[in-house]
């Protein structure tokens, strides 16, 4: 429990305003520096620099809470992605069930990925039985 809390503190330190807004006031007193282990922040920083899939799955494994995972991963992911679904999609919903960020919905038997939420983990692409998902990293300004 404390480990989970500490990791969340570490992340909060980095994006104080955002986390405060989304996580309400219950964690605010942690942010004033008390009970903080600097070591844990270092760990958290390393985690955010993992490849997107590992960052996401590790965070989810530690928190076991999809809503918190979504907020933290979305907040700490610096890169943006463009996800597209090809016509070969059969609407099986496997990607919907797999996506930890709930970025995918089915629309008329075709998956629709919200690129704003996509963190590029590629897990949907890996499970897709028809190879219909393409995810590209977007480099702003290039």
């Amino acid at each position: 429990m404390t480990a989970v809390e500490l990791i969340r503190e570490g992340l909060s330190q980095k994006e104080v305003a955002k986390i405060l807004e989304m996580d309400r006031s219950t964690v605010s007193h942690y942010l004033n520096g008390r009970n903080l282990s600097w070591n844990s922040i270092e760990v958290a920083e390393i985690i955010t620099k993992f490849c997107p899939k590992d960052f996401l799955t590790l965070t989810y494994a530690l928190l076991n809470d999809s809503e918190k995972t979504r907020v933290i991963v979305k907040t700490c992911s610096k890169k943006s992605y463009k996800a597209s679904v090809e016509e070969s999609c059969i609407g099986c919903g496997l990607c919907v069930d797999t996506c930890l960020l709930n970025a995918i919905v089915l629309d008329d038997l075709k998956a629709r990925i919200d690129s704003d939420w996509c963190n590029g983990c590629n897990m949907c692409r890996d499970v897709c039985p028809t190879d219909s998902i393409k995810i590209l990293e977007v480099n702003n300004g290039y």
């Binding site: 059969i90 099986c92 919907v96 069930d97 797999t98 038997l109 039985p129």
Partner: protein, 352 residues
């Protein structure tokens, strides 16, 4: 990680995928399955395999007609949409995709109009799947004939001839052994007027002319009969699970009360030179399309014959034929529209 689970109950199969978002459940009913293998053809992940249906049908071996590999199945529902007899059903959160507009459905139906049906039961007899039940209420016989009958009990000698002769079992006597206090052989004779059809056989056969009877239907024709009293009423029921939309009911109905719409159009050809008259196709065909002509005693039956009127072009016979003498071509697959290009493509690939 979401994974599938499979449950096998007897010959039925159920594959499930449960995630926080939804529960997908594909249910297969073996007793409904006709072994056509369309599910295996349309499955985009090759998760379904058609069994040795010829052997299963003929030996009654305890085996499902299809097998589903739960590791390959992605629960997309294509098999459920394409199954011509609804042996497969995909449910999303307990709701069947057959009730969802975004999923294409085969256009097929069988209906019996209660307005037109005369409850002759021809369809019930002809249905190869025993899917039709006709419940009918017959008119009351006593309302269709009128007349008068009276037995003069003083003249009657209780011989019992009328009782034996009555074709409607309308006359009943109370026979008993005579005693010194009652030296008769019958204590009473009664006519059940609900059963009596005023045929006058009793009157004509009575040796002592004890019966007076007239038939009013004969003398007045049908004037004093209410035509409504002669109508047979009832209701018809088609068991949708058993029905394969073969069209027997439609063809045999004398008043065009049955209408059937088939999902597939096509062509059935049998190569008479190759056919070895083994009969496997005759047994597997769910529509009684195939038969052998009557053979003379002692002679081997002729090659198999087909009446395409009743064919649903499912292809089960083609699958089961050991010498590849049968070809089933599907030229049209009628289904409700879908916006999905991949579904459209997979469904149209059922055409051969």
């Amino acid at each position: 990680m979401v994974t599938n689970t499979k449950e096998v109950k007897g010959k039925d199969i159920c594959v499930q995928r449960i995630s926080p978002e939804e529960k997908r459940e594909l249910a297969y009913k073996d007793d409904v399955c006709i072994g056509c293998g369309i599910c295996a053809k349309i499955c985009p992940t090759e998760a379904i395999e058609l069994g040795e249906i010829g052997a299963i049908e003929r030996t009654g071996v305890d085996e499902s007609k299809i097998s589903i590999d739960e590791a390959k199945c992605v629960l997309c529902g294509m098999c459920s949409s394409a199954c011509p007899v609804d042996a497969l059903d995909l449910k999303l959160d307990e709701k069947s995709i057959k009730d969802m507009a975004e999923y294409p459905q085969l256009i097929k139906s069988a209906e019996i109009s209660d307005d037109l049906c005369i409850y002759c039961k021809a369809c019930e007899t002809a249905c190869p799947r025993d899917a039709i039940t006709i419940a009918r209420i017959l008119p009351e016989r006593s309302k269709l004939v009128t007349g008068e009958i009276e037995i003069d009990k003083d003249t009657c000698i209780s011989c019992g001839i009328c009782e034996e002769m009555c074709p409607a079992d309308a006359i009943e006597m109370e026979h008993h052994e005579p005693t010194s206090s009652d030296p008769t052989v019958s204590s009473d004779i009664t006519v059940n007027k609900d059963k009596c059809v005023y045929c006058l056989i009793c009157r004509k056969s009575c040796p002592v002319d004890a019966i007076k009877a007239v038939c009013r239907s004969c003398s007045y024709g049908d004037y004093d009969l209410n035509p409504e009293d002669s109508e047979t009423t009832g209701s018809s029921f088609i068991d949708e699970e058993a029905c394969v939309n073969c069209g027997w009911c439609q063809e045999i109905c004398p008043v065009d009360a049955a209408t059937v719409e088939k999902a597939f159009e096509g062509e059935l050809t049998i190569d008479q030179d190759t056919c070895e008259a083994c009969g496997a196709c005759v047994e597997i065909c769910p529509c009684n399309v195939l038969s052998f002509p009557e053979a003379e005693f002692g002679e081997q039956s002729d090659k198999v014959q087909a009446d395409e009127t009743y064919c649903i072009y499912c292809g089960a016979c083609e699958n089961v034929c050991p010498v590849e003498a049968i070809e089933v071509k599907r030229t049209a697959v009628k289904h409700t529209p879908t916006k999905s290009k991949s579904w459209e493509k997979q469904l149209s690939e059922l055409k051969t």
